[in-house]
Amino acid sequence: MIQNLFGHKARILSLTFILLMSCSVLSRGEEHTENTEASTAQTDQEAWTGIDVSIVGKYAEKYGRPPRDPYINTDQGDLLLFVFTIAGVIGGFVIGFNVRKLFYEK
């Protein structure tokens, strides 16, 4: 019974998450391309840029295959932060739940 209840809640949570993501992406407006002040912002960002951005992106452009938008583009404003937080919470929950089940329950 508890397992069924948990499974049901997990299913509802998953579906809500998927729908929320899809709606957020679908409802996005036009991309904000701010060319002004770009150089200052770029210098600030370059300090801790991910190597997949600075290396993979750089070489891909060099070889004539520049990256493009993902099909579901959550990299807009704070949306990516939100998605990362949700992913971290769910990932942490799954890890914690199974660690307890494997190592601490008798």
């Binding site: 299913r11 579906l15 998927i18 729908l19 993501m21 899809s22 992406v25 679908l26 991309e31 391309t33 300090a47 801790w48 840029t49 991910g50 190597i51 997949d52 951005v53 600075s54 290396i55 993979v56 992106g57 070489y59 891909a60 070889y63 004539g64 295959r65 520049p66 990256p67 493009r68 938008d69 993902p70 099909y71 579901i72 583009n73 959550t74 990299d75 990516l80 998605v83 990362f84 992913a87 971290g88 769910i90 990932g91 942490g92 799954v94 890890i95 739940f97 199974n98 660690v99 089940k101 494997l102 190592f103």
Partner: protein, 261 residues
């Protein structure tokens, strides 16, 4: 009921993807190999290489869950760990300045779950990242599974076994597996990017070596050591907390004899 729900989700996602495919046009840089970088022939090649490994992984999960009652929670825990590890930007100060990079976690999952199941959990993690986190991409999923899943898992697994034969302690076996799996993952990415110059008449080896060198100098040279330490400590933790798990998985032969950690 289950079939209907799955069908509805599939229809929803197909619709969403179709709409997004039409509206996507601006370049976005993200982790792993991003959408649009690989040309069609390499997209199909990497998918063709990766799919059999994922298939065998699914088959092994089904088989092993019948043999070991705790296997599914272990798959869940390590799958989530691979997902979190591989989208977790760690700040590193290295030769090329300040950058962030992520570990892979496939070395750890390959040791505990076996290399094929590790490819399967890496595929799931990469798929979720491609769908929701703007990391990697759907067209480059095969390439990312090849580098992080296949190369990362198999290199880590074999290095762990070799280290065990050399009678190293459990921590050092895990450490070496973590380091090597991380290096091989980025070697795989370098190979995939290096292959882009083949059609342009450039030297594949020169390009791949240049990209791999950049990865090492920027952050991965340090981060692979961090990943090795984490994998080593995880194995020691599992051994000290519940050695029966390692025994069931065939990682240690006899839990009555003390294993050097």
């Amino acid at each position: 009921m289950k079939g209907n729900t799955l069908l509805r989700i599939t229809i929803l996602f197909t619709t969403v993807f179709s709409l997004l495919f039409l509206v996507s046009e601006n370049p976005v840089f993200a982790m792993h190999i991003t959408e649009g970088i690989l040309p069609p022939q390499w997209i199909f090649t990497w998918f063709a290489v990766s799919i059999p490994f994922v298939g065998i992984g699914i088959h092994q999960v089904k088989r092993k869950k019948r043999m070991m009652p705790n296997y599914l929670p272990l798959v869940g825990m390590l799958g989530a760990a691979v997902f979190v590890f591989s989208c977790f930007p760690v700040p590193v100060i290295a030769l090329n300045g300040m950058a962030t990079s992520h570990p892979c976690g496939t070395g750890m999952s390959a040791i505990l779950l076996g290399p094929f199941v590790s490819v399967f959990v890496a595929a799931i993690a990469l798929l979720i990242q491609a769908l929701f986190l703007a990391h990697g991409g759907l067209t480059t999923l095969g390439g990312n599974i090849f580098s992080m899943g296949i190369l990362g898992s198999f290199s880590g697994y074999f290095v762990f076994r070799i280290a065990q034969r050399c009678r190293l302690t459990l921590f050092w076996c895990g450490f070496l597996a973590g380091v090597v799996s991380d290096l091989f993952t980025y070697l795989g990415t370098s190979i995939e990017l290096g292959l882009l110059v083949v059609n342009k008449g450039g030297s594949f080896f020169k390009a791949a070596a240049e990209i791999f060198g950049m990865f090492m100098m920027t952050s991965q040279g340090i981060l692979c050591i961090v990943e090795g330490v984490v994998v080593g400590f995880v194995l020691v933790f599992v051994y000290k907390r519940k050695p029966g798990i390692l025994l069931d998985l065939g990682i240690i032969k006899d839990d009555t004899k003390s294993v050097r950690t």
